[in-house]
């Protein structure tokens, strides 16, 4: 009985950490967003930072965490802060971005009213900006909760060299239960965590429904046009949008494109984009530089010989990275295919959708690092007899898949829901077959959503790989481990206490990923914005 109480407390502690950090993100985001809409320079820097960090997987922060919090601050406080910091970096970016978008799209008329009444800063915030940001916050809570749970359970317990650091939470409790082989209690813990997560998801759904019906201004929603939807449908569609856990893009590019007034601004806008692109590249490098800088004493303490060693090992690291990109590719392809079939099916069948989507939402928040060992244990013998030497590779890919599939699924599903209803009528009218619909209409029409889904999927796939590629004692007496992989390399170096090597690996990793995301993701987004905005295909006065 005592133990069940302990488990419940631990689950609540974990949930409290995630929710508390999200709350901190929300509150800080309000002030930062306000500063951003008031100052051009700050705005450019702020947005660039968010964009870069959003695309850098959380694990690249790991060495910095170790160095600053564990080594420098140390003690229980340092460990607690390390766990919190990791989760914070997982939850904060899309919330900050969402709030910025909301502040940026407050209708001019409202602002004029505020000026007219000479409202003070706090009144303006309380009466206008903050309420206006609720729907977008609601939309961004789902992915943040999922991300937060994913990382908190792994950051509650970690070991560096001979030291194991831990802070109280469900991750720690499960770890010790597994170590003492208390299977019954483990299942109980999983159940209790599931219960807590379901409550949170239900709460979030309620909140987003409320936020949407209460705080959404019509101009905020370009998919709603006069004469096409009645009020009931309007709220339904909006709640779809708000419910979506990954509306990073939806809102983002809406704020950039939809509310764009006349073409006169085009030129200035282009210059702004250019500036922001350069500055974001610059900032990306600066931040990566800071990561290195923060480990100055580490670098200084690294001897000449060791530096030579680091450099000599670099080609190998890049090769490992290539392996990992291949894994990410496989995970992405699989997620993509399933997301498209399942997402389209659910979007077209409202009854299946009503059951399927909440289930998927709950699953997406339930952290794979927690339940995966049990799936592994239950299926290992069977899988091994079929796949033989590829068994471990299979499990790593599977873990990557369950960590990441939801993102692309949601993005696509939401994209389909946001397609103008006229498109569906044209498809029916012309008697288009399934593949024709997909190729000519659905995929191009959801392209911007797919891009955002793909980039989030890639980001979280790294998290899955980090955990899966090297997992000692995933079940008692068995390790999960791949032959080659950068994530495994970093894991092992961290584990044996070779922080210099781990930091070097994640530094190289961070650079490649940031460059990739700036070049690839941005280019695709630009393309998407230029041509693939389905809402613009229907012309209504």
């Amino acid at each position: 009985m005592n133990e069940i109480l302990l488990i419940t407390l631990a689950a609540l502690a974990t949930a409290g950490r995630v929710l508390g950090l999200i709350l901190i993100s929300i509150v800080t985001g309000w002030f930062l967003a306000y500063a951003a809409i008031k100052g051009k320079i700050f705005e450019n820097i702020y947005i660039s930072i968010i964009e870069v960090f959003e695309s850098v997987p959380v694990i690249s922060f790991f060495p910095i965490v170790l160095i600053i919090f564990v080594t420098r601050i140390g003690g229980p406080l340092g460990v607690e802060m390390a766990a919190d910091f990791l989760v914070f970096t997982a939850v904060v970016w899309n919330i900050w971005m969402g709030e910025y978008q909301a502040f940026k799209t407050v209708p001019r008329e409202m602002l004029e009213v505020a000026e007219n009444y000479q409202m003070s800063f706090f009144t303006k915030m309380r009466r206008i900006f903050i309420p206006f940001s609720y729907p977008r916050i609601a939309a961004n809570l789902f992915p943040s909760v999922s991300d937060g749970f994913f990382y908190i359970t792994v950051s509650e317990v970690f070991s560096v060299g001979v030291h194991t650091y831990q802070t109280f939470g469900i991750g720690t409790v499960l770890d010790s239960l597994a170590a003492s082989d208390k299977t019954g209690l483990i299942y109980m813990a999983l159940l209790i965590l599931a219960f807590v997560i379901i409550i949170i998801i239900l709460g979030l759904r309620e909140f987003s429904r409320y936020a949407v019906s209460r705080y959404t201004v019509d101009t905020d929603a370009p998919i709603i046009r006069r004469g096409r939807l009645n009020v009931k449908q309007t709220t339904r569609l909006l709640s779809v949008v708000a419910r979506n856990p990954l509306s990073r893009l939806a809102g983002y590019y809406r704020s950039r494109v939809m509310s764009r007034p006349p073409e006169v601004f085009e030129k200035r806008e282009m210059r702004r984009e250019k500036i922001s692109r350069y500055s974001s590249i610059a900032i990306g490098f600066t931040i990566l530089g800071l990561i290195i800088y923060s480990s100055t004493d580490l670098i200084i303490s690294v001897s000449h010989n060791e530096w030579n060693h680091l450099f000599s090992i670099t080609p190998k690291i890049l090769l490992y990275l290539l392996y990992d990109y291949a894994r990410v590719g496989v995970i992405l392809a699989l997620s993509f295919v399933i997301a498209i079939f399942l997402g389209y099916y659910l979007a077209m069948h409202s009854r299946a959708e009503g059951i399927g989507v909440p289930i998927i939402q709950t699953l997406s928040a339930y952290p794979p690092p927690i339940y995966f060992p049990f799936i592994f244990g239950a299926s290992f013998t069977a899988i091994h007899s079929v796949l033989g030497p590829f068994t471990d590779e299979f499990y790593v890919l599977a873990l990557g898949f369950v960590s990441t599939f939801y993102y692309i699924f949601y993005s696509f599903w939401m994209g389909v829901k946001a397609l103008p209803s006229e498109y569906f009528e044209v498809m029916k009218n012309l008697n288009m077959g399934y593949f024709r619909r997909m190729r000519s209409i659905i995929l191009p029409g959801t392209f911007p959503y797919l891009i955002s889904g793909i980039s989030s999927t890639i980001n979280s796939a790294w998290g899955g790989l980090m955990i899966g590629e090297y997992w000692p004692d995933i079940i008692p007496g068995r390790n999960l481990s791949v032959h080659y992989g950068l994530m495994k390399f970093i894991d092992i170096e961290t584990n044996v206490g070779n922080i210099a090597m781990a930091a070097w690996g994640s530094f190289l990793f961070g650079i490649v990923v940031a460059i990739y995301s700036i070049i690839f993701t941005r280019r695709m987004m630009d393309l998407a914005r230029k041509r693939y905005v389905a809402e613009e295909g229907v012309f209504a006065a």
Binding site: G227, E425, N429, L430, G537, F539
Partner: protein, 270 residues
């Protein structure tokens, strides 16, 4: 009882077979329980241009969707040459109230969309699409994307796409509502000839509009919808030679007749 019903249906079908499109005894309610129609009957004869008018929100767009098989009536049926319509078909093409184009496809590709459905070869499809674009006066603009076009041009693309599907019936929902008056007038003058030119297989048109002058200018037969739930409260036959002169006396007599049906509006607000 059953036999009666079967006989009834058989008679309905036999009667409907004389028409291009025939809607018989249509009742319809939306899922929220709002009853839009009660016993609505519409017939479209060979090469007939039928117009439907009525106050805003009365159910004109809904009726077109029923005629096209997009919505199922609760009671009654829609027949195309005596064959019951149960789902949308390329034989009956709907042109939307809002102009629908696909921004990632050029004008030509937008039009080819409806040809590929018919399983023709790529070259043939392209040729037919170019033809359709020419018919609506867009030759030379084949490679433009919708965003690079004016509203009127986009609507022409939508009409060309509809034409290219070679339908038997056109359902047009306020096709000129989003165009400026000059463009609208130009298209209006063209549309009749485009639609009933000898090289289209088109047999009938249903146009929804709240612009009464437009309707008298174009239609052979005008149905007036009114009341909640809506019924056909009047039917006006227009037997004027084309092109019609909106300033002529006959024209204005017909206009007056229409106004009489529409006022006083017996629309209850719900």
């Amino acid at each position: 009882m059953d036999e009666d019903l079967i006989k009834d249906n058989a008679m309905q079908r036999a009667r409907a077979a004389q028409y291009v499109l025939s809607a018989v005894g249509i009742d319809f309610s939306y899922e929220n329980g709002y009853k839009v129609f009660e016993d609505v009957n519409i017939d479209v004869g060979q090469n007939e241009f039928v117009a439907i008018v009525g106050p805003s929100g009365i159910g004109k767009s809904t009726l077109l969707r029923i005629l096209g098989g997009f919505l199922k009536p609760d009671k009654g049926a829609v027949y195309l040459f005596g064959k019951q319509i149960k789902r949308p078909t390329p034989d009956i093409i709907l042109i939307h109230q809002s102009i629908v184009t696909f921004p990632w496809l050029t004008a030509l590709e937008n039009v080819m969309l409806s040809l590929k459905v018919r399983n023709v070869s790529d070259e043939e499809a392209e040729k037919a699409a170019r033809n359709a674009l020419e018919t609506v006066g867009l030759q030379g603009f084949e490679d433009l994307y919708p965003k690079e076009m004016s509203g009127g041009m986009r609507q022409r693309v939508a009409i060309a796409r509809a034409l290219a599907a070679s339908p038997l019936v056109f359902l047009m929902d306020e096709p000129f509502a989003h165009l400026d008056e000059l463009t609208a007038e130009g298209l209006r003058q063209d549309i009749y000839n485009i639609l009933f030119s000898p090289d289209t297989p088109l047999k009938g048109v249903v146009l929804v509009s709240h612009n009464l002058t437009e309707v008298v200018e174009l239609a052979d037969e005008i149905y007036v919808l009114n009341n909640v739930p809506a019924t056909v409260v009047g039917k006006v036959h227009v037997d004027l030679p084309r092109p019609r002169n909106p300033r002529s006396e006959e024209f204005n007599q017909i206009l007056d007749a229409l106004y009489n049906y529409l006022t006083p509006p017996k629309v209850r607000k719900i």
